[in-house]
Structure formats: C-alpha cells, structure tokens
Symmetry: C2
DNA sequence: AATGCTTGACTTGTATGGTAGTAGGTTAGT
DNA sequence: ACTAACCTACTACCATACAAGTCAAGCATT
C-alpha cells in the first residue's frame, strides 16, 4: 500500500505525541522525508489525523535530536545531513560503547558470548543485498552488548543520539561491505571471549570508525542531501 | 526578595517554553523543588504567569531528563534521586570525558594548558565553604576541556545528562573535599601538559569516580530524597 | 519600467476550552 | 459500625482559537 494515508494512524494505549515523533523520525531516517524538505505542523497534523499540539511536541523533540530545524514564524525543515554532525555523534558513540565493551569483556559471561556468537551466525546468513535486514541485526548486536554490560541507560543515550548516523547508513548505495562489518563483529566477540579488554575495545573502536571510510564518498555522491559546503 | 512571585517571569527574545524549562530545572537541581513534590501544569502556569501549554512542553523535556515523572491523569512529580540513575549518567560522562581528555592531551596546545592552569589558580582561591562558587569553576573546567578538544556537541550531551549528578553535588553537606578535587584537576592538567594520554585519561576517570565515595553517605543521610530502597 | 508599499496567506507560538481518567472523601446501604 | 458505591475535584491530554511574525505577490506610485 504505497503512501496510503490512513484516516487514523495513531493507536491506542500511548499518547499521541510520542507516536507522531516516532513516525516522523523513522521517515526522516529512511530518507522518506528528504533533507531540506519543509514540514508544517498543520500539514502533518492533517495527514496523521491529529491536532497540531502533539505534532508540535514531536517537532520539538526532533529538533533537539537535530533532525529538523524549527524557525519560528517561518517553518520547520528537515535538516540536511552534516558530515560534522555525523562525526560528532560518532565520537560520542565510540566513547560510550568502548567502555561498554570493556565491561562485557571483563565479565565474559558464557551465556553472553553464546548469544553473541548465535547472532554472528545469523548475520552471516543475511543476503548481501538485504541492507535493512543487516542493519536490524547490527542494531541488535550493539544493543545486546549494552544490555550484557547492564548499561541500559547508556544505550538509551546512544539511541537518542545516533539518528544522524543511521541516516547516512541508509544511504549507503553499495553492498555496505557486510562481510567486513561481520568480521569486525567477530573480532569484538573474540576479544570478549578471551577476556581481553584492550583487544575488544580496540575492535569496537575500529568498527565504529568504519563509517568514516564511506562517509566522504556518500557526501559527495549525494551532495544535495548534505549541508557541508565542500 | 525572598520568593517574590513576579507578575511576569519570562523575558522577551526567547520562547516561553524553554525558559520555563530552565527555571524549573534549576529549582529541581538546587533542591528548591524537593523530590516527591507534586507539580501541576496549571499551578506552575499560574505562578509563572504563562499558559499551560509552554509549561507542558517544559514538563515533557524535564521528564526526558528524568527530573520529573509525568503520570497521565494523575499528576507530575519531581523524581526522587536514584543512586542507580546517578551511577548510570556518571558512567556515560566518564566514557565521553575520558576520550575528550585523550584528545586534549594529544594536542597539548600551550594556550589550552595555560588557560587550564589559570583556572586551577582561581579554584585554589575559592573559600572552602563557598560550594556554589567551586561548582561553577568545576563546571567551567570540564567545559573548557571539551571545548579544547573541539567537542562542543559531546559537551552538550553531557550537559543534558548530568543533571542527576548535579542534584547530588548540591546536597554535599561537608566541605566537598575541595582540596582533593583540585588536586585531581591538577593531575589531569599535568597529564595533558606532558602529552601523556594514558595518565590524563586515568586522572579524569578517577576524578569522575569521586562522587561514588560520597554518594552512599549522602543517600543515607538524606534518605527521604532518594528512591532506592535500602 | 522600476521601485516601494500594501495585503493576504502562510508559519510557529501562546492561550483556552473540552474530555477521559484517577483519587479521595462522602454518603447510602447493610 | 463497617463496607461499598457514588460524587466531586482534581489531573494530563488533545483540540481549537487567537496572536504575532514572515514572505511573496501584486498593485500603486514615481
């Protein structure tokens, strides 16, 4: 059902504001709403069959995440992707996840290692052209690491921050080097299994720097989606 | 002017919502609004001479920060301080600042080191009973490190997260061990000046773990402000 | 023809009305 | 006297009305 606008998009059981937020957030990350595109509280409200108020709350939250820019009395626009912003959130993410992995390696709990290896097997099964599927598994992998370290809150911080990175990953046109990414995952798990904190930390730092290799090329080939003038 | 409620608290030039947010945030952090206390959109709106709408937006943002808890159709309450939450944000902060300090040590720019040493001198001048003054300088010190590393965004993440820690620091009844904290600052700067990344990193990690030593005692002596049942 | 002003259709920001749901006190029933 | 149902006074949530500012198009004036 392509672009069908349901009469009532929102479901019961949760406030409308957060629902609108998630819907719009997803659309921006998946480049369904393009950088530079103009949004409007009223338009979004109409198309989602809610009032302006929850939409406004969603806009505010999106603007705090840097996904939209609200200009009073002028309009609300989907922010262009900024190489600098992506590198900023990447830095924060690397710092947090590095410490998380150290903790996991310190514990090197057998059930955690088993779970991670199970996930690695699943990742290898993903067809190389099914980007969305792999991204889901990658997300799960990192989330599992955080959970294993008992750092649910730290993961929530990462989640609230990494939208900028996710936008870029959705643009990767080529095969995403899935094989290489899985190899990096393996090194992380190996380090954890060996209880080698330093090795595991170094592995995830390298893994999270992977985006830096593809970022310039993506920014060049899809320049219209990016802000940085270069 | 003690507790005078001005007719119009808000100023021009900025939207009301964020202003209300900052006012309430400050009051919560400084324990002017006590954990467990009930807030109300209408009450806060009346006392600030604004409408309920901006107050609502402020409540939402405060709840995302974990400073209040919004219970639909029931009320909004200042969250009790939670030892677990404090440790959660502390972990995130340590992870980020550790990497920041590594960067600063790598650069070991002379003007940065000079500025930091200047701040150390100021910190030593603070009377041992002027907690607020030292906290301001401490804040400035850490902010300066982030700025020197060119990580303004990372600092903004820390700021949006560290409110839980600040609440505790405001409760420290004793002399806050100002002398010890300044010593730790000195070790950080020494590591940076020597270009010794590992030493600087270890120094700031120890520094940020300092709160762990006083936290249990504070939680015990001010148990009514804390959530954790122990 | 070119320039300046007005006007109107937008935008977000703020205020207020209406609704569903909760909680506690009160009253009726046993 | 005790229990249980009701009723009132709240709450946050959503919808709508109003205000203030922006911008562009088009008309009037020069």
């Amino acid at each position: 059902m392509p672009n069908a606008k349901p009469a009532k998009v929102v479901a019961i059981g949760e406030s409308v504001g957060p629902q609108v937020y998630r819907i719009l957030r997803e659309r921006i990350i998946q480049a369904e709403l393009l950088p530079g595109e103009r949004l409007s509280e009223s338009d979004a409200a109409k198309s989602l069959s809610v009032s302006r108020q929850p939409v406004r709350e969603a806009f505010i939250k999106l603007s705090e995440e840097g996904l939209v820019q609200v200009l009073p009395q002028r309009g609300t626009f989907v922010t262009k992707i900024s190489v600098a912003s992506v590198m900023d959130v990447r830095f924060v993410r690397e710092a947090i996840e590095a410490d998380i992995v150290r903790l996991v390696a310190e514990g090197h709990a057998p059930e955690t290692i088993a779970e991670l290896r199970r996930q690695l097997a699943e990742q290898r099964k993903v067809p190389h052209d099914d980007r969305a599927a792999f991204l889901r598994l990658d997300e799960l992998f990192h989330h599992t690491l955080a959970a294993a370290a008992g750092k649910a809150y730290a993961w929530s911080v990462i989640e609230s921050v990494k939208a900028q990175m996710d936008r870029v990953r959705f643009l990767s046109v080529d095969d995403l080097h899935i094989g290489r990414l899985i190899e990096q995952h393996e090194r992380i798990v190996d380090g954890i299994a060996a209880g080698d904190k330093a090795a595991a930390e170094e592995a995830i730092r390298l893994h999270l720097r992977e985006i830096l290799t593809s970022l310039p090329e993506i920014a060049r080939s899809r320049a219209e989606l990016f802000d940085d003038t270069e």
